[in-house]
Subunit: 330 residues, 4 copies
Amino acid sequence: MLKVGLLGAGRIGQVHAVNIAGNARSTLVAVADVNQEAAEKLASDHQCEVRSVESILADPAIDAVLIASSTDTHSDLIEAATAAGKAVLCEKPVDLSLQRAKACLSTVSATGKPVMIGFNRRFDPNFAAVRKAFATGEIGKAELLSVTSFDPAPPPVSYIKVSGGLFRDMMIHDFDMANFLMGKRPITIRAVGSSIVDPEIGKAGDVDTAVVTMTYDDGRIAVIKNSRRAAFGYDQRVELLGSEGLLQVQNMLENTMVKSTAAGVVSAKPTYFFLERYMPAYIAEWEAFVSAVLDGADIPVTLEDGVAALAMAEAATESFKSGSAVEVSY
Amino acid sequence: MLKVGLLGAGRIGQVHAVNIAGNARSTLVAVADVNQEAAEKLASDHQCEVRSVESILADPAIDAVLIASSTDTHSDLIEAATAAGKAVLCEKPVDLSLQRAKACLSTVSATGKPVMIGFNRRFDPNFAAVRKAFATGEIGKAELLSVTSFDPAPPPVSYIKVSGGLFRDMMIHDFDMANFLMGKRPITIRAVGSSIVDPEIGKAGDVDTAVVTMTYDDGRIAVIKNSRRAAFGYDQRVELLGSEGLLQVQNMLENTMVKSTAAGVVSAKPTYFFLERYMPAYIAEWEAFVSAVLDGADIPVTLEDGVAALAMAEAATESFKSGSAVEVSY
Amino acid sequence: MLKVGLLGAGRIGQVHAVNIAGNARSTLVAVADVNQEAAEKLASDHQCEVRSVESILADPAIDAVLIASSTDTHSDLIEAATAAGKAVLCEKPVDLSLQRAKACLSTVSATGKPVMIGFNRRFDPNFAAVRKAFATGEIGKAELLSVTSFDPAPPPVSYIKVSGGLFRDMMIHDFDMANFLMGKRPITIRAVGSSIVDPEIGKAGDVDTAVVTMTYDDGRIAVIKNSRRAAFGYDQRVELLGSEGLLQVQNMLENTMVKSTAAGVVSAKPTYFFLERYMPAYIAEWEAFVSAVLDGADIPVTLEDGVAALAMAEAATESFKSGSAVEVSY
Amino acid sequence: MLKVGLLGAGRIGQVHAVNIAGNARSTLVAVADVNQEAAEKLASDHQCEVRSVESILADPAIDAVLIASSTDTHSDLIEAATAAGKAVLCEKPVDLSLQRAKACLSTVSATGKPVMIGFNRRFDPNFAAVRKAFATGEIGKAELLSVTSFDPAPPPVSYIKVSGGLFRDMMIHDFDMANFLMGKRPITIRAVGSSIVDPEIGKAGDVDTAVVTMTYDDGRIAVIKNSRRAAFGYDQRVELLGSEGLLQVQNMLENTMVKSTAAGVVSAKPTYFFLERYMPAYIAEWEAFVSAVLDGADIPVTLEDGVAALAMAEAATESFKSGSAVEVSY
């Protein structure tokens, strides 16, 4: 039984709390949050204690911490938790600063403690099926990857301002997805973007619509398309063209009803909310972490993976600003 | 080059005229119709002569006739044409009277001349693909066939009154489709029906919605669903469940555009008009007839097939009226 | 908090135990089963007591019982539980004997205690969407309903022998689905069937493939197709044709990956196992029961509904045996 | 009746000959080709004369010429034909040299004769439906366009060497499609590419896989993906994300059969051959040309459109070579 401390009681922390409780091999012991009210609510829902971060890290009865606090705390908490001998599952991104993330990686590597980064989409059964089909050679060699990732609606501009920008905040998932599906990392990145969805996002120095192309040392190409708005819901698709075929992931729909009338043939929309879309992935992600810690299974998403995705986001941001191709510095 | 006389210049006669002209191995020589104006219009469009039926049948330069006149003339014309040594392609149904159709079959068999019945749907590439997949064993043994056949809108009640009823006029296509796909004929037929689409159809002694179940000597079952109205277009589907899988034909859509908005995900409707849906089938049907006559290929839909479908329609009509199961008398 | 006793610790009892535990407003207090080992295993998994049926029914601290024992005990347990003042959720079917089920209904009605029958498919989001779309007039008046329900593989012949036959054991779900979607019950039923999947099933006096047609007092028609085997998985679809359109429920697939190669375009299969397909329905079913008992909401599937479906199964069985149409005796 | 001279009797010339003959308002009078045998074959099939280009252009009885000869002759023939007073439909691309094409445009503009460029895909009913839906505001403002265009198999390297390269030879269709769907032209183009399908293509100085991103003055973005090989067939799709929704064109399939077995759910592949995929488009294209000449309708694809697409291809080629973004010089 894995005894877990949860750092962060916000929306995503609450999701993890449910999954920690729902897993037969883990139990939630304590929660910490700067927002005392949120911490108490979560503790009450899950019958665990509210404690300080320090107290959790110092408790030898706690095996692992799940870091779901704000991004600017991630590197510090990863370092402190591993120093305290905890296994760590930390939400993405590792940091907004690539330099800080690399330092964290260097520090943590020395401890040898398991650190997993929460790129939940790797655990989605649909994307995992593509990875498996490609890995087992069903479409031959990879040639051209396309990732489509549209949010249903943009976050508030106040969030945009502290988000680190679309490439670090949103597309980072797609950078990791590309690494996951391709099994290798790109050399060069080109980014274009605009704030066509909401000019206020542009005024805040960010983009809401962006396309990134990436090239690989063996001639592969990948393209990622992001938009902060899709009027019809959460649009999450990939296409991987190989020498012997194409693998596609289509959207999951709210239901399987089809209505045909004189007005047309109408299907349900994609699931709108990311938690609805990816709940099975969050559950499987936690399962994988528990298995890595208790059974010694491989960490499926390492801190190095998290740093790599951040390095790609950094390169994309730089390319968008300069207008030129940028080599990724991993 | 097959020299063809066309008997009937109505809507379906005009379709055939285009296809006779479009086939490199056939030419339209003459047309006959009781409606002189229709005959002249068609002759002018296709640069052929208007003649009487007698003149066409008596002309030794004419190899084949295509019978597209009203149903009550079919048996007489088939007999006269084969007696005159012509190859015949006759529109469905052979007759409204099963007894008359059987007599026609008997008469014609003695002549040895090729007679083909116009069950065009056998030549539709989608249904033909099911037949081929089943025939090559891709789903094992046949167990349960389902045919869905909905017209977009009912014909005028005046037509209903002379049509012979839904089972002979509309479902006869589906009876032949069942025979085509199953490769064998049912023993017993049960029919239910109602005039729920239009009570006037009921007053005219017919139904507009009907379901027929058919049983076979080896335990197979087939079900046919008909409606005279589908608000969304022409609905033409089949499903064949076998011991190793299921074969389905889906509708052909007007185009492949999909529109996703907050209101839902909208695809195009099925093609609305039977000529749009089945034009490739009409062309392939004529091609098959030409090949049968000129190359000695097998007649793909025989007069006997036409009589069998009529016998099934007769049994269904009787079952609907009596409320009991009826054995088909082929 | 609803305190629940579970009668039956078999496969479906275990599913319900998880859902009782997972619902924030219900708790599993005790379990009873003639198989002591199964009861103890379930009690251990869910930290509840093993007790006798009598002890559970006599306990005033228990508010409700969930009957998941063998079918031959259902009527007796429903009567005993309601007499003891418990709310009841009982698995389908109510009984294999229509007469006994009617007597049970009569007895229970006098008590006024809430009894719900476990037709879980009503709670499937896909079928519920069809019901809602029809009820809100999106396709006008109902004309023709088609239910396709194929199991992935037949049960052992030993089970077939005690099952009450396909119509009572398997198609009963589809009879209830028809009543749910149509909002009214049929007058007359015709059934055909055969044992084409497995002749041993025929030797046991049952069928494995069947088609039932049903007629309604207003001219509607419904058709149900059942097979005990679909090589590709669990096939659960409905189609409701109305005066203004068609509503269809398609299968749920294992994932949304599509693979296109020279061999064709391959999608995932339908979910294979009924628990996988209907788990959300089981959860929503329990939620509805809890709400009916605690909040006084309407019972969404009444004992009368259970008796009606059984009456239809009885009529279908009789029609299959006699070969004639049978009027349903509700 | 439009009297037409055909310049070029190769594969695409033969397609046009059939469509000229099939249109009730046009007739094929003469054909010219440097390959005398090809010209004679086509003339025999369509009962027209073989003549020299000079003779055709000098014949006052000929109203229009269709230029389907090799690309290096296009500009010269367009100029000569318009100078001779003919209406012109010329296959794409206008030229391999942007400079030459611009000179041609300048020369031809002075004559005032109608010149149409054969971007057949604009006439495809599926793409046309997207254009119409967007133009009528069904998805609000355009934000992000994605064009996927994969050939089934690469042409011989000998063809690659004289093709002008992927951007001019293949992607030029997609540049025009972007202009057609967007209703405006991009400012800046970035291209990446590789010869991952066939290294021999790389040795010939070309790429076989490429992604181009384009930016617009109002913040829109477009991305085009090309591959010379898709093992499953001809892959031709677009997606246009707007402020209120998404429009997608899916592939046309060989048939609508779906086969479900234990191995999966298999649909037909996309049509493999471009003539099969786009035959309706070629027919509609010719219809539009005839209508433009005879009825004075607008030329739907102008010579200027042809030059614009070539300018984009030139910019893409330059961007690929330099690795930098290139502003398009229209």
